[in-house]
């Protein structure tokens, strides 16, 4: 018997009771829809997080000071004062370290910044020219902090667009104007291009000053809050981490890596951590959605069993006229698969439009992953086979005499 014949008779059988067919498929529609929506929303949020982490700079390693122990009480990571500008200079100068392109020593702390009319509390970052390379800073106007500014402890500042708007109002050019940080006047020499980001990690709400000015003039410290390093390329990340790690250990007269007074965090670590968190959430939610798929499958099985009983006479007749058992099984399986496949296709449309709507509303990148579509089709066909098998077998096992007698 040709497949077209089987298909058309299956479609015919399903279209006899359209309402029931639709309700039977509804479970699959909702299940597949939920799985697709959640997978693609999960992927969208992962993409968004990844791109904002990558905006921090590529091939980035960050050295932060270790925690400080005082009278047996261990402080938080970064609380000690073990990293210095000299460390950064030594890393830059060391002939042993071959995989690092840029070294950016940084000191950051929040402070009150004021102009004639307004004031705001913002992040002050003491930087060297390397900061621009390491963190992909581009300027919308003016220039960045130069080596000369750092050497001469100049009172100049490069300001982020959010901070600029807060202090000078939208659309006003702040270049050449003065801001007062901790009551010391700094002249603004550049404004950065917006990098996005929000909340606690707003990379646009910053004021950058020469590292030396931050340490000596503003905060009176001689240590760093971090050193950012850019590896020459992606494959050098691990080598760079090792080279710099051992170099700093010996510079700090330590032999055991477990006693290190600093920690090196790579961008890959952060990405990995964030990805695993969003991945876990996606998996969890998809798992819940998969339960509704299971329930949908049981619904299909239920309807198919009812159909088999209702069509006992038809099955008996078909067997009397020469249908083999495998043909009867195929016929019922095809009906079940059409049911689940159709449900899967509807569910895909539902899930995709749902995730499109949500990504528009909360401003995430919209993606439709091929894998989720393939999974949806595979799963819905598999559900058809798994849950259609039992009713189909039951149909095939009917004796033609019993089936013909059935009223």
């Amino acid at each position: 018997m040709e497949i077209t014949e089987l298909l058309s008779s299956a479609v015919e059988a399903l279209s006899l009771n359209k309402m029931r067919t639709f309700l039977a498929a509804l479970g699959i529609v909702i299940g597949i829809g939920a799985v697709i929506a959640l997978i693609s929303l999960g992927e969208a949020s992962q993409l968004s997080v990844q791109s904002s982490i990558q905006a921090l700079g590529s091939n980035l390693l960050t050295i932060v000071p270790g925690s400080q122990s005082q009278n047996g009480v261990r402080g938080g990571l970064g609380s000690s004062t073990s990293l210095t500008y000299e460390d950064a200079k030594a890393i830059q100068a060391s002939p042993q370290i071959t995989t690092v392109a840029y070294v950016s020593p940084e000191f950051s702390r929040r402070a009150q910044v004021s102009t004639a009319g307004t004031n705001t509390n913002t992040q002050i970052i003491g930087v060297t020219p390397a900061y621009q390379d390491v963190h992909n800073v581009t300027l919308s106007s003016g220039r960045f902090i130069s080596a000369d500014d750092v050497n001469s402890i100049n009172k100049v500042a490069v300001i982020g667009p959010t901070a600029a708007a807060n202090l000078f109002g939208d659309g006003n050019d702040p270049i050449g104007q003065n801001v007062r940080i901790n009551k010391i006047a700094f002249r603004i020499i550049g404004v950065t291009v917006s990098k996005g980001g929000s909340g606690f990690n707003n990379q646009d709400d910053v004021v950058m000053v020469p590292l030396t000015s931050a340490q000596k003039l503003l905060f009176g410290v001689d240590y760093l809050s971090s050193i950012a390093l850019q590896a020459k390329n992606q494959n050098d990340m691990t080598a760079a981490e090792n080279e710099v790690g051992y170099f700093l250990l010996s510079r700090h007269h330590l032999t055991d890596p477990s006693q290190a007074d600093f920690t090196i965090i790579s961008q890959a670590d952060i990405l990995g951590a964030v990805s695993s968190v969003t991945g876990t959430f996606t998996a969890l939610l998809s798992g819940i959605a998969a339960i509704s798929l299971l329930v949908g499958g049981i619904g299909i099985m239920n309807i198919m069993l009812v159909t088999v009983i209702e069509r006992t006479r038809e099955i008996g007749l078909r067997k009397a006229l020469g249908a083999t058992n495998s043909l009867i099984i195929t016929q019922f399986l095809i009906e079940a698969i059409i049911l689940t496949f159709g449900g899967g296709a509807l569910g895909m449309i539902l899930g995709t439009s749902l995730s499109f709507a949500v990504t528009r509303i909360i401003n995430l990148p919209f993606t439709v992953s091929l894998s989720s579509i393939l999974i949806a089709f595979g799963v819905s066909a598999a559900i058809g086979i798994v849950f259609g098998w039992y009713p189909a077998r039951k149909a095939a096992q009917l004796s033609p005499i019993e089936a013909l007698r059935y009223e």
Binding site: E2, E5, G322, N325, L404
Partner: protein, 233 residues
Amino acid sequence: MTAIIEASHLSKIYESGAVKTQALADVSFSIKKGEFVAIMGPSGSGKSTLMHIIGALDKPTSGSYSVDGVTVGHLSEDNLAQLRNKKIGFVFQAFNLLPRTSALKNVMLPMTYAGIPKEERVARATKFLQMVGLGDRLDHTASQLSGGQMQRVAIARALVMDPAIILADEPTGNISTVQAEEIMKIFEELHKKGHTIIMITHEPDIAAYAERIITLKDGRIISDKPDGHKLWK
């Protein structure tokens, strides 16, 4: 003439739990090609059981049965299905058409299982529907037809595979007497054309159309008269 059906010492015992029911006991007969045979008997006489065995829907408990040279005893379920498809044309009391399917498609169904190409299926089905006088009702669904018309579709369906025998189980049981007469005329014509017809019935005036009447009682043949026509007409 050669024997198209050969049954020897057929018996059938149904077991349900400890109760054994003997539906057929040592039934032997043969039917020649082109014969029109009626099998009669009161209910419980075993005629339905015999019809199931003749139709290869069931196997005897003991004894041997062959149709058109094929011995049924050792065939698998799928082989039985193929045998029914090729050698036996069923006509049922309750018509057993697919209700929401057109007359044409109903008649095409056995050919679909035989893997006959579509053009030939349509051509043959049309030919036989015209033969039973339903050439203008090809696209009517079974539920749009009268009882007599449905039985004529069923006869067309029984004929399309050019079977060795036509096996009719109470073919007039569910239709009016006028329509029953029309149906029996079709059977008579088929008989004249040389078809082998076996008809199960409990109505003497229907059995009278046959040329031979086998009467069953309590699972045994009590009479096998070759001249039904003379007996009843």
